[in-house]
């Protein structure tokens, strides 16, 4: 059986305002999300993680161009789907949770009306049935007094509660695939742990395929089944979680790992591991390794086509070094 979500050689370009200055945001990225597993897409801001997710949902901004050798959900080719067909899938069989729950919930509508809209639209459910389902799900994501919360507006809720509402809303139509884009970045560490525990238990209990986007390898280690490390629009390393952390091959993966602060491991005033510089903006037609400007191991050969090496079963990486 094919994977739940298959992405093969995905390319996304954004046309620049002065003609000819376009940006290649995603450059031949491939990954697959299986049913019942958590796949983490990890990388810094500007690496193309969110653009990949938006390309899957067909929610890219105007001016973006999407191409892929294959882009399929439950075996169905998403590139051939009409806008109406895509709208039928979104929020229904595939749902998305965004990073900032304050800006992604509508401030002018109550939690209840936003949650029930999904079910009324996709399933033609009655308001009463939809309200019952919304209350059930709010309770399921650990919100006490769901009846009260349904009548409240987003600004009356704390950040953690809003993110729980987003999760409950995404679950309204029993999705097969849940895409969570940095769901805990705006939250306190204590609330982050609670939300991630919740996502992990929902994923397990409902057998969801979860594509979790994050910049923090600390989170990846704790929740992922598989990991794809993304840099400047390319998947530069992918592996099973245990394998990736035991044997990180790409210098970028190694750099990201050094950045995670571990209590008790850092001496005061000793420099923390970091990656110098920032993610470059890449124009279409770029050749070679995009990480070379920031890499300690870079040399002349990094300006040319980079081979993909295998480091064991389901573990490969993109680097001139074997």
């Amino acid at each position: 059986m094919s994977a739940l979500l298959e992405i093969e050689k995905l390319e996304v370009d954004f046309a620049g305002r002065p003609a000819g200055s376009s940006t290649a945001a995603v450059r031949g990225a491939s990954l697959a999300v299986e049913r019942g597993e958590t796949h983490c897409l990890v990388g810094e801001s500007g690496c193309g993680k969110s653009v990949t997710a938006l390309a899957v949902m067909n929610l890219l901004a105007r001016g973006a161009r999407r191409r892929a050798r294959r882009l399929a959900f439950q075996g169905e080719d998403l590139q051939k789907l009409s806008d109406a067909g895509m709208a039928e899938l979104r929020g229904n069989a595939m749902a998305m949770i965004f990073q900032e729950p304050m800006t992604s919930l509508n401030p002018a509508y109550t939690v209840g009306s936003q949650m029930t809209e999904v079910l009324r639209r996709h399933r033609r459910a009655s308001q009463r049935a939809a309200t019952d389902r919304a209350a059930d799900l709010l309770a399921r994501v650990g919100i006490t007094a769901p009846g009260l919360r349904l009548g409240q507006f987003p600004h009356q809720l704390s950040g953690g509660l809003r993110q729980r509402v987003m999760i409950a809303m995404a679950l309204m139509c029993d999705p097969q695939l849940l895409i969570a884009d940095e769901p805990t970045t705006a939250l306190d560490v204590t609330v982050q742990a609670q939300i991630l525990r919740l996502l992990a238990s929902l994923q397990r209990d409902l057998g969801l395929g979860l594509l979790l986007i994050t910049h923090d390898l600390g989170i990846v280690a704790r929740v992922a089944t598989k990991v794809s490390v993304m840099y400047a629009g390319e998947v530069v390393e992918s592996a099973n979680t245990a394998q990736l952390f035991a044997n990180p091959k790409h210098p970028y993966t190694q750099g990201l790992l050094r950045c995670v602060p571990v209590p008790g491991k850092i001496r005061r005033d000793q420099p923390l591991g970091s990656i110098p510089g920032t993610v470059p903006r890449i124009a279409p037609g770029f050749e070679g390794c995009a990480f070379r400007e920031r890499c300690d191991f870079a040399d002349e050969t990094c300006r040319h086509v980079i081979p993909r090496h295998s480091a064991g079963a389901a573990h490969d990486f993109l680097c001139r070094l074997p």
């Binding site: 810094e44 801001s45 500007g46 650990g142 006490t144 704390s158 950040g159 953690g160 509660l161 306190d188 560490v189 204590t190 609330v191 982050q192 742990a193 609670q194 991630l196 525990r197 992990a200 910049h215 923090d216 390898l217 600390g218 989170i219 990846v220 280690a221 704790r222 929740v223 992922a224 979680t241 245990a242 990736l244 952390f245 750099g255 990201l256 790992l257 050094r258 950045c259 995670v260 602060p261 571990v262 209590p263 008790g264 850092i266 005061r268 005033d269 000793q270 420099p271 923390l272 591991g273 970091s274 990656i275 110098p276 920032t278 993610v279």
Partner: protein, 331 residues
């Protein structure tokens, strides 16, 4: 003896929240009876969740808010008695969100020059020289000085905010969540920069974060804050090596280290969130505490000295140590 760089004595700050129609006004106690001192060159890390009063504490120390009661002194002078310009030369802030704290219409060099212009006593040539030096010091090129904040990445923007804070050569910097809007890779760069600047310029920091792991690298001493109060404080190594207060332990447990297979820990705090407008009686932490006893809901524990150094406020701890000392004397 030299005066502490920052000294706070029994500071208290409440806000009145207007109730709606037919609702009484409510009082939010943001900072309640907080006392501490930071020696010159020291770094106090203040850690706690959103709404615990950390940012209010930062504003009190910066003199942006007046306390209801208590005293706040910087280098021995009451902050509220100080002239605005003198204060700016002594203490400066770096805020959390470099997207919101920089004027989007001003060029980077003008943003950094603002504190100099506000003093009114620096000539143009001197201003330009200092701005260029400062930009280079925080790792930005002179070319970036001619850009707008929107043309910079989050990490670069935070470097601009740091340059602006340091351009008057203050001795104290209050950093309020300076890295929580940033990626982990950029966070490490900024933490390294702040540590380096502190060492080279002999600065004193008050460093606020919700993440214990972040302060370990920069702080010489850490205070854990819960609903307006300090519940534990100790020299950094001791706090991380032997945390005493159950809340400190929960904060440490919430740090997700890159160790696969461990899963996401249950930090044991339950689902009730602290509400600063509705502070529970007794120990404020008792509704979320995994080891709360009946006494905790009634009586407020005082700060008691930790072994060797520091303080913590918990009935269960003092109860245990009392029992132990009683056994020892009985023998």
């Amino acid at each position: 003896m030299t005066a502490p760089a920052i000294e706070v004595r029994a500071a208290r700050k409440t806000f009145r929240v207007r109730g709606g129609l037919l609702q009484a006004d409510r009082h939010v106690v943001a900072v309640d009876d907080v006392s501490f001192a930071v020696p010159p060159g020291g770094v106090l890390g203040v850690v706690g969740e959103s709404g615990c009063g950390k940012s209010t504490l930062a504003r009190l120390i910066l003199g942006l808010l007046a306390p209801d009661s208590g005293d706040i002194a910087v280098e021995g002078q009451r902050i509220l008695d100080m002239d605005r310009k003198v204060r700016a030369q002594l203490i400066q802030p770096v805020f959390q969100d470099p997207f919101a704290s920089l004027n989007p219409l001003a060029k980077v060099a003008d943003i950094v020059a603002m504190p100099l212009s506000a003093q009114g006593s620096f000539r143009r040539a001197e201003r330009t020289k200092r701005v260029d030096e400062m930009l280079a010091r925080v790792g930005l090129t002179a070319e970036m000085g001619r850009r707008l904040p929107s043309e910079l990445s989050g990490g670069q923007r935070q470097r601009v905010a740091i340059a602006r804070a340091l351009v008057l050569r203050p001795r104290i910097v209050v950093c309020d969540e300076p890295t929580s809007a940033l990626d982990v890779s950029v966070q490490a760069q900024i933490l390294n920069l702040l540590a380096e600047l502190r060492r080279d310029l002999g600065l004193t920091y008050l460093f606020i974060s919700h993440n214990l792991a972040v302060v370990e690298h920069v702080a010489s001493e850490v205070a854990v804050m819960y609903l307006g109060r300090f519940v534990e404080s100790a020299p950094t190594e001791r706090l991380f090596g032997s945390p005493e207060h159950p809340y400190t332990k929960a904060l440490l447990a919430s740090v997700l280290t890159p160790e696969p297979g461990l899963g996401v820990p249950d930090v044991g705090l339950g689902d009730t969130l602290p509400d600063p407008a509705n502070i529970p009686p007794g120990c404020r932490f008792h509704p979320r505490c995994p080891i709360a006893e009946p006494r905790c809901a009634v009586e407020t524990p005082a700060l008691k000295p930790r072994p060797a150094a520091g303080w913590s406020a918990c009935w269960c701890l003092s109860g245990k140590s009392l029992a132990r000392s009683w056994v020892a004397t009985a023998k």
